[in-house]
Subunit: 358 residues, 2 copies
């Protein structure tokens, strides 16, 4: 049973692809965890209520494979039919299935060189060719660069880890240049102030918009994401799901998701608070000499001319503050910092100021 045992031929066929590395989840008392873009606020009171009231005896039954009745709730609230909504086990699951459903039998798919690091991993997992397109000098996506032949396009908007969001005109330019491909817009962070392309699904049959309950709805612990798209795209996504795992979403998660969607006041309030703290934190960091990219998300992406990002990362970690450092070309002198509570961000700022004095 040890890995070191002599190699047998059954070992030769094992998968050896690259994997996604997520933010650490250490269990340290008093840790300020600003590394996974989790929401600093708990889920809405309505969600807590829905979980307590859920009839757990009914867990002996399988959930609805299509995520009903949440599917209808989402369709109603965003002005679509059920047939335009796909529900999955977090937006990672939805995106992975969408890669398989929609992307590039022969031509490479396109996505930015700096973006969600799961994109190249999914492409490799499913044997899909891809080509990364460089962001410009200021880490913006250049829409004209996506006006070439491809087997599909995936854009995170706002982009991560840059935090920069683009507007309707930008998305429409991508769409107009890609009538022969499926365009996936990954909106994991759109609720924090970005433009959402949901409404464009009415106009573009080849557009798939993917969203998550993890960040804006404080539900990372219940795996729930969804996609909005044309009947054909959603039908294809369902086929792919039914070729892999028919019931990916827990019944209790469907119930919690419905309550989350219906608790609109709490949602708006918590988003507004995070944006307020974000802007204040950004100003204060600028005061310490940091360059802070304009954020439309619940995190900021920062760099400092006179500071090595990795050194600051290690210093903060020693002070029990966990942020995210990516050891990757172009962004290896940046830190990604999730927006926590006011108090957490105050502590971050104090320790960062101390760092300069040390």
């Amino acid at each position: 049973m040890s890995i070191e045992s002599s190699s047998c031929s059954w070992q030769e066929g094992l998968y050896d692809g690259e994997v996604y590395v997520s933010g650490e989840q250490p269990e340290i008392m008093g840790l300020i965890k600003l590394n996974s873009n989790e929401n600093p606020f708990p889920p809405a009171p309505e969600v807590l209520q829905a979980i307590v009231e859920f009839d757990a005896r009914a867990l002996r039954f399988y959930p609805k494979g299509d995520g009903s009745p949440l599917r209808k709730t989402l369709a109603d609230i965003y002005g679509f039919n059920d047939s335009n909504i796909f529900i999955g086990n977090g937006s990672d699951d939805v995106l992975a299935l969408a890669f398989k459903a929609c992307f590039g039998k022969n031509k490479p798919i396109l996505f930015p060189d700096i973006s969600y690091s799961f994109y190249p991993i999914w492409a490799k997992f499913f044997g899909i060719d891809f080509e990364t397109v460089p962001l410009d000098e200021s880490f913006r996506i250049v829409p004209e660069d996506y006006a070439k032949e491809n087997g599909g396009v995936v854009i995170a908007n706002p982009n991560a880890p840059t935090s920069i969001g683009e507007g309707r005109e930008f998305i429409e330019e991508i769409l107009k240049n890609n009538e022969d491909s499926v365009v996936i817009i990954d909106e994991a962070y759109a609720a924090f102030g970005g433009f959402s392309a949901g409404e464009l699904v009415h106009e573009y049959d080849n557009l798939l918009v993917v969203r998550s309950f993890s960040k804006s709805r404080s539900l990372a612990g219940l795996r729930l994401g969804y996609a909005i798209g044309s009947d054909l795209l959603i039908k294809t996504l369902i086929s792919v799901k039914d070729s892999f795992n028919s019931y990916p979403v827990d019944s209790i998660t469907i119930a919690a998701g419905m309550a989350a969607i219906e608790s609109e006041d709490y949602f708006r309030m918590s988003i507004a608070k995070i944006r307020e703290v974000r802007e204040k934190t950004a100003e204060q960091l600028k005061g310490l000499g940091f360059k802070v990219l304009p954020s439309s998300t619940n995190f900021i992406f920062i760099t400092h001319e006179r500071v090595e990002a990795k050194v600051l990362f290690n210093y903060l970690r020693m002070k029990n503050i966990l942020v995210r450092y990516f050891d990757k070309p172009r962004i290896d002198n940046y830190l990604r910092i999730t927006i926590g509570t006011s108090d957490e961000m105050e502590t971050l700022l104090e320790e960062t100021a101390n760092f300069f004095q040390s």
Copy 2:
């Protein structure tokens, strides 16, 4: 947005594979649902308690990607290390990832012609060649038939929908004939009286045993399954998970799963009850002239010389009793009937008796 719109070239690259068709989940008042092998009893009281006591405020955090601390609970209870346990979003998720992790780069994998109908679909999904091996006349798996070159073997034990379980000698024969392949034993139903190959993982590094919480633990509504295997197999499975979806299991499901594992008395009691009702039902159906295959599961597989299975299926459905009919070669005159409560089975028997009188 309509499927009927004229074909654009983006539509040409869409996935068009075969899908798994699960049992219907109709919402009909008073329906006796014996078509999905769900447990007639609710989850253990300890599970209901764990859900009520779960601190839902913590749902703002991601779950542990490896399913901790349930991973350790399972390792402890079955006498393994954490590194021998993989946790997934139902055993379908575990099996799908295991196909990708372990199976056949060049040679076809083997499984019975009559078995879980997801196997060929996963193989096609991942582009894995396969060959089905016929069951014998009495629907038994013939172990010698798996003694040929292959890229992997997957056996459901007990098998579905036949309900027949095989013992240790059988499994060891398969393993001894397949030292160069990974052998997956799918034990979705083993808790209902079959032999479990878990202990053989200590002896065979190429054995992966996959189990589910859906049936025996009454938790189909929370998607939870696991695999037991050598360090290398589990490490590879984790790599595949981390190439697809890093956090597939909800935090609350991990908590519920731990409570389910710890409520051993309830588990034994409900299994014993289901087996008792199963044997009684089988005897009564034999009294009506049915052939009932020897079951080690929570369902029975029956046929009758003078009755068309499909006709009886439709009759029972009209009487609000839903069982499972497979329109497939060799088994198209059989019905698969889940063991429900005593009352439900009494009603089934009454209506079946009425069928003969009508």
